[in-house]
Amino acid sequence: MTRRTIAALAGVLGGGLAGILAGAMAGGLALLGTGAAWAQTKSAADGIAEYRKMLEDGNPADLFEARGEALWKRARGPKNATLERCDLGKGPGVVKGAFVELPRFFADTQRVQDLESRLVTCMETLQGFDGAAIARTPFGRDEQNNVTALATWVAAESRGLRFNLPTGNAEERRFYELGKRAFFFRGGPYDFSCASCHGEEGKRIRMQDLPLLTKNPGDGVGFAAWPAYRVSNGQMWSMQLRLNDCFRQQRFPFPGFGSDVTIALGSYMGVNAKGAQSIAPAIKR
């Protein structure tokens, strides 16, 4: 796609002059080629940084945020109830600040849970949905779309806050340890682990910088940057989907939605990111 700047003349009917500067910019503009000619005018890294800056305004994640907020407050499901009594770890109905403390241990389920598995728990207990059926539903379909929208809104309610996952409970500490082991687990026909890409500072795959996830990689990076809207495919990606696609690229088999390995990895990354500022929901290439 090429960038098209539309200069529009205003049809003004009385009531003062309106000077117009209209730049029509949609997510998904590809401004860069990778040929040598382009590289001579500005470096590829500079070009990509400029592209990312242009994308920051008008993040389509806003649309998912709005949908998620509406879903939280709408009576739905067999029990015809809202999610407004859902406990995301800070008490029933407390949404602000919940995102930056997940995953965490929940006494009612006796499990460490991440945001999405906890949302499904609430959809099940408060609204009467079938949690296992939602977990089996592919991303981008039916109730999974609603889980994504809800996760986007809950994350937005913690925008700017710093990650501070609780580790006081032994299960939380155990899941951190299990997550660490999963992070370094080499497997599949490519011998990849998470650490293969995210185990060293300053590396990149093709032109995509790879954060080091064995420690805090910084504000708005790694764990602190998801959920995010991906411009390249116009999709809203939650952490569950991000991990799912990581495993696909690692040539692993399919990780179950909300499975222990995904939650444990969230614990590992989330605890390591302690103090990092969340920018979720973010925008990505």
Binding site: A10, V12, A22, A24, A26, G27, G28, G234
Partner: protein, 103 residues
């Protein structure tokens, strides 16, 4: 009916900066689905932005505009409390109107 637009209109000096995020698939008509069939074209063709009921910007879009389009414009002569209305119409004659107040 499509999802609501997100419209922000904020005064900056003597002009209102209006930012609009529209929810739309914007299919070019050239993409193929998993089965190899062409996905039919479906995109916003006309957008009108009005200030207190009077059109200040009309836009004609084509398939080059990507999914969930973002439009930003400056409106001189607007003031706090004014009403900004955005209307779009797509190639299936679907239409959506949303409004916001300049703050």
């Amino acid at each position: 009916m499509a999802d609501p637009m997100r419209i922000r209109a904020q005064m900056q000096g003597d002009k209102a900066v209006v930012r609009v995020l529209m929810s739309h698939e914007m299919e070019t008509g050239q993409r193929r689905d998993a089965a190899g069939r062409l996905v039919p074209a479906w995109f916003i063709q006309d957008v009108t932005v009005s200030l207190n009921g009077k059109a200040v910007l009309t836009v004609e879009w084509g398939p080059a505009i990507a999914k969930n389009p973002f439009l930003q414009l400056n409106v001189k002569g607007a003031k706090v409390g004014d009403k900004i209305t955005v209307l779009w119409k797509d190639n299936k004659n679907d239409t959506r109107t949303d409004e916001a107040t300049v703050s």
